[in-house]
């Protein structure tokens, strides 16, 4: 069975500082990988996704993530955080095969941005 671990429950950074959110997955092969962001009381918005090819993927809002097969990781990064980035971030994994292809989510990382 696939699983996702986000080891950091809560991260605090200052505005303008760089950010890295960690994500490790467990899956027998290379899965589909995703990062979503959730503002309070809202649904989830897709930031970026990895299916295959270039292991560094660019997303919306200036985010990027790097797939590292050897480490089973898909960490999210942003060079300079803005106050509006404060939210909860979820990493997710899905099997590339099968018709249902449901996503399995990590438990999330809450990001606080200090002025």
């Amino acid at each position: 069975a696939q699983s996702v671990t986000q080891p950091d429950i809560h991260i605090t950074v200052s505005e303008g500082a760089s950010l890295e959110l960690r994500c490790n997955y467990s899956y027998g092969a290379t899965p589909y990988l995703f990062w979503y962001v959730q503002s309070p009381g809202q649904g989830l918005q897709l930031l970026l996704k990895y299916f295959s090819g270039d292991t560094l993927v660019q997303g919306i809002k200036g985010f990027e993530a790097e797939f590292k097969r050897s480490q089973s990781s898909f960490n999210l990064r942003k060079p300079s955080v803005h106050w509006s980035d404060a939210a909860e971030y979820f990493c997710a994994v899905a099997s590339p095969s099968g018709s249902a292809r449901q996503l399995t989510f990590g438990s999330g990382t809450q990001l606080t941005v200090l002025p």
Binding site: Y32, G41, L44, F51
Partner: protein, 112 residues
């Protein structure tokens, strides 16, 4: 473009009362549909998914049920709510052949 709608956005119900949350998708056909629950301070738990009309798969045994009476409509129900049913319920859809899910705005359920 495709859109997804969930309602009601907020619901407060007494223990033992019934529940019906509705989700509809527009601008696509034959989507895969999903219900997730997000309890306070926790991640997302997949409850049900559907690959077609009348086809429902349950991931977690509970007193909730789901139905898909039309291609783009997905309903989450309960005959008798429990306190533990409180949470934030998210509906999502995925296009045929696609990888990512697109989520609705969620329905916040509080059971008292």
């Amino acid at each position: 473009s495709q859109t997804i709608h969930q309602w009601p956005a907020t619901l407060v119900q007494p223990v033992g009362s019934p529940l019906s949350l509705e989700c509809t998708v527009e601008g696509t056909s034959n989507p895969n549909l999903y219900w997730y629950r997000q309890a306070a301070g926790r991640g997302l738990q997949l409850l049900f998914y559907s690959v077609g009309i009348g086809q429902i798969s349950s991931e977690v045994p509970q007193n909730l049920s789901a139905s898909r009476p039309q291609d783009r409509q997905f309903i989450l129900s309960s005959k008798k709510l429990l306190l533990s049913d409180s949470g934030f319920y998210l509906c999502a859809w995925r296009g045929e052949g696609a990888g990512e899910l697109f989520f609705g705005e969620g329905s916040r359920l509080t059971v008292l």
